[in-house]
């Protein structure tokens, strides 16, 4: 290891009632890629917020040394000035602005009192070349994919002469190509003198890219491992992260699939939109007690497919026949789909799934209030009872069901989201990226739960961009590419290579 660019010594950060960081020590060497791993709620993001000045000096205990100097940041502006840039999971770009406006937002190049747009565009072009992104700097960010937006974020950081780049789960929303692209860029940047800290749940990535890995658990540093000494492997990381060994994160289940079809889309479903169809000629079926995986790249149309059978809340025109338990159905609103026995757990639990300012019980009962209401009046006691049942059964870690969902960790939020839709008591459960951004322990719990549900006869449609998950959990796999189903594979025949081939065809 070279000389440390960053040393965080004995950092302790307390929130009312919780010690989020407890005497954490974290040291990053110059010109390395240092991965920070740990379960959700382990304190990774908090540590990075302390570092970047989101939690200003004085609100935590301990010292931060950057390039050998003690730092006392009062805000993000201070840490940026020192050469630290942080890129969050939720991208902070402004969709309606152009690429070059976004790159220099907040530190515009000025001539006198005015912004020098020509120089801005020239410099933006330069930054884009550095991140190997060939887009028109004048394009609007909203017209670009997530992968490209991620690179623009990095370009923005580079334009601030960053020395230490922090990435919070940069590949969570990226497909495999974009992820590889991003990781190789980080390697290039390392050779150009940019040190990176990467938070990630994708252990394979961590292993492929990290020089050093630090594991956090329950707000404490568990260990720091040197990849070049061969200390880093998936089982080792998982062991340190969860504090126990998980042999197989995809639990086995006894097969008792029936041949009875629970849900079928016939005669080619199509979603029409003025700019061209989102879905074309889609037909598939789901049997009782079956987990059907929908694999494909981001933006291939899987979410739109799920929404179109779930009462089409997007308001596009949907054509095609939908049969549930053999009966033909036409849904105009999600309400009708729910009544017919469907449930949809969204991929974006914060923006579309949960009401973060409401508590656990209100979120769990929202989609099925009639169950605990009589003549329109909600029975508050019954609500607490129901919520507590799901809290116990799903092992939701929360002080009480009166806790605001926004205060829970990602994994527990996802469990609340699941609880909400299980309370609807569906026949067919649609899970859209059920384990995105949640830790290994919670993933395992969700997989176990899924197995339990299909054994009770529920059918599950699982949309997932993580191929190991698709292969580990599905009974059958459909591959979606550019709005079409390009293949159907029984699990016995499915391999990563075959799926990727179909997904890119």
């Amino acid at each position: 290891m070279g000389t440390p660019i960053l040393e965080m010594k004995s950092i302790t950060k307390t929130f009312p009632g919780v010690k989020a960081l407890d005497n954490v020590t974290f040291s990053v060497a110059t010109d390395e890629i240092h991965c920070l791993v740990g379960e959700n709620g382990a304190g990774k993001s908090t540590l990075m917020k302390v570092l970047s000045g989101v939690y200003p000096h004085g609100t935590y205990e301990g010292d931060i040394l950057f390039e050998g100097q003690v730092q006392q940041y009062r805000g993000i502006a201070d840490s940026e000035k020192a050469g630290i840039a942080i890129i969050y999971q939720e991208l902070a770009l402004i969709p309606e602005m152009t690429v070059y406006e976004n790159i220099f937002l907040g530190h515009e190049i000025k001539r006198g009192f005015l912004v020098d747009w020509n120089e801005t565009i020239r410099r933006a072009d330069e930054m884009l070349k550095k991140v190997k992104l060939s887009v028109n700097p004048a394009a609007k960010v909203k017209d670009l994919g997530v992968g490209k937006q991620q690179l623009i974020e990095i370009a923005k950081a580079l334009s601030k002469n960053v020395k230490l780049l922090i990435l919070d789960e940069p590949t969570a929303a990226l497909n495999e190509d974009d992820s590889d692209n991003l990781l190789s860029l980080l390697r290039d940047l390392k050779h150009q003198g940019v040190t990176s800290i990467m938070i990630s749940h994708k252990l394979k990535e961590v292993i492929s890219i990290a020089d050093t890995v630090t594991v956090l658990r329950d707000g404490q540093t568990v260990c720091t491992l040197d990849a070049h000494k061969g200390e880093v492997s998936e089982p080792v990381l998982i062991k340190y992260m969860v504090g126990r060994e998980i042999e197989n994160i995809y639990p086995k289940r006894d097969h008792k699939r029936s041949d009875e079809v629970a849900l079928e889309v016939r005669t080619g479903m199509r979603i029409a939109r003025p700019l061209g169809d989102v879905l074309k000629d889609v037909s598939f079926n789901v049997k009782k007690g079956e987990i059907v995986g929908f694999a494909g790249l981001m933006g291939s149309g899987r979410t739109e497919l799920a929404l179109s059978i779930f009462g089409n809340p997007t308001g596009f025109q949907v054509h095609g026949d939908l049969l549930i338990n053999g009966e033909e159905k036409h849904f105009a609103r999600p309400e009708q789909a729910i009544d017919a026995g469907l449930a949809y757990v969204t991929e974006d639990r914060k923006a579309k799934g949960l009401i973060l300012i409401q508590d656990v019980k209100e979120n769990i009962t929202l989609a099925n209030l009639q169950e605990i209401a009589r003549r329109g009046v909600v029975d508050g006691n019954a609500e607490v009872k129901v919520a507590n049942e799901y809290r116990v059964n799903l092992n939701i870690k929360t002080p009480s069901v009166e806790q605001k969902v926004g205060n829970l960790s990602g994994g527990n939020q996802q469990k609340v989201s699941l609880g909400k839709w299980l309370f609807v008591k569906p026949d067919v459960l649609i899970l859209d990226e059920p384990t995105r951004g949640i830790d290994v322990g919670a993933k395992f719990e969700i997989y176990t739960l899924m197995n339990g549900l299909v054994q009770q006869g529920m059918s599950i449609i699982m949309i997932s961009s993580e191929l190991p998950e698709v292969l580990g959990m599905s009974d059958r796999v459909y591959v979606v590419s550019a709005g079409r189903i390009t293949g159907e594979l029984p699990i016995e025949e499915a391999t990563q290579e075959k799926i990727m081939h179909l997904a890119t065809s």
């Binding site: 707000g219 404490q220 923006a351 300012i357 409401q358 009639q370 009046v377 607490v384």
Partner: protein, 403 residues
């Protein structure tokens, strides 16, 4: 390697004070605003040498807050769903002139010497006008998807025009016997005491029933001392209020109407599916939509409800002033919005209480009447109101940040 230290949670303090403290922290915003109200009263009590706490002044204060309060409790629902209604002031004003017109020109010819029938018919017409306008605005907002800000801004213009058309620029009297009771009537002291007794009985009955239900469900019961303390506190509040106003003329009819409306609205907000859906829509519209909530229907109904409350406000206004004037309801929408926001309603949607809006409205009215008693010029009254509104919201923002 890890240094394992026990970071187990601290034992929660028990006992009555501990539980009171917990309740206080969880409803901090409501209590802060109540404290602000008390502070304002103490301030005026000192400056007026106690005059503002005399029964007559207290009685008038509560009577004066009623019109905007009807608007404010409806506005809570509107803002909670992420909408706004700028037309309510003028709608109340329009209802008041329509009612005055019927009182002065129509019933007089159709059913002479039937003041009470005329009053009832006026009320029905007033409510009808309010609801009809609510239906029209609600339809445009929910089904035609025109933003509420624009629909109700347009509504405000249209209603201003309609008021001028109905009044022909003149003032219409609406002080006929019977009709004036709505806002100017007082209950005999004995009736006031009977109502107070009924309310106290209901409060205690509610407490025991709630405990019973919780026990049936096998929940941990809140301490009996705390429950009793709260119930006794609210009972004393009701008794003290009736005692004070009885020293003047008795319980004011419009305040009683407002209390009933507020209790119903509060119940709708907290205990019905309709209320829950309103908060869900404001809290996260997409999540609400995907949860099967019919957003259009909910918002449509909320604007109808707002129209109904504006109708009530208009009727009370006509009876209170005794006239339908061209300036009726001018600026009331702003008072209503300010009251709701003072009371903790979030302009981002999803948060707000009917009770808070009432306290907010009481603060606004207290400022106006208090400053009037001190003979402060109207110009300064506006300045003070504006400053208090901004300070209150700033205090709330700063407080949330530090938490």
């Amino acid at each position: 390697m890890a240094v394992s230290t026990d970071t187990g949670s601290k034992k929660s303090s028990t006992g009555l004070m501990g539980e009171l403290g917990k309740r206080f922290r969880s409803n901090m915003q409501t209590y802060t605003i109540i404290l602000a109200l008390v502070a304002i009263w103490i301030f005026f009590a000192i400056l007026t040498g106690g005059a503002c706490l005399q029964p007559q002044n207290v009685s008038n204060l509560f009577r004066q807050m009623t019109v905007t309060s009807f608007l404010a409790i409806g506005m809570v629902f509107v803002i909670v769903t992420g909408n706004i209604d700028l037309s309510v002031g003028k709608l109340a004003g329009f209802v008041s002139v329509v009612v005055a017109y019927f009182q002065a020109n129509i019933w007089y010819n159709l059913i002479p010497n039937q003041p009470y029938v005329a009053a009832v018919l006026s009320i029905i017409i007033g409510l009808g006008v309010g609801v009809l306008f609510g239906v029209m605005q609600g339809y445009m907002i929910s089904f035609l998807q025109v933003p509420s800000f624009i629909v109700t801004l347009a509504g405000m213009f249209i209603l201003t025009g309609l008021i001028l058309l109905v009044t022909q620029g003149k003032t219409i009297p609406a002080n006929q016997a019977g009709f004036d009771l709505i806002a100017q009537g007082y209950l005999p002291p004995l009736v006031g005491w009977i109502i107070a007794a009924i309310v106290v009985v209901i409060l205690f009955w509610n407490m025991t029933r709630s405990r019973q239900r919780k026990r049936q469900h096998g929940f941990e019961l809140p301490s009996i001392a705390l429950d009793l303390a709260t119930t006794i506190f609210y009972s004393l509040l009701v008794i003290a209020y009736v005692w004070v106003v009885n020293q003047y003329k008795g319980v004011q009819v419009p305040v009683l109407l407002l209390a009933v409306a507020a209790v119903i609205m509060s119940y709708i907000a907290n205990n019905t599916r309709f209320g829950r859906y309103a908060y869900a829509i404001g809290g996260n519209r997409e999540a609400a939509r995907l949860s099967g909530i019919n957003i259009r229907r909910s918002i449509f109904l909320i604007f109808i409800l707002m129209g109904l409350l504006a109708g009530i406000a208009g009727i009370v206004l006509a009876s209170y002033v005794g006239y339908g004037t061209i300036a009726a309801g001018q600026g009331y929408e702003l008072d209503a919005i300010a009251s709701a926001i003072l009371g903790g309603t979030s302009t981002l949607g999803g948060v707000g209480t009917v009770f808070g809006a009432l306290i907010g409205s009481l603060i606004m009215t207290s400022l106006t009447t208090g400053l009037q008693m001190l003979n402060v010029q109207p110009a300064w009254q506006y300045l003070v109101k504006g400053i208090v509104l901004v300070l209150a919201v700033y205090a709330d923002v700063a407080f949330k940040k530090n938490r």
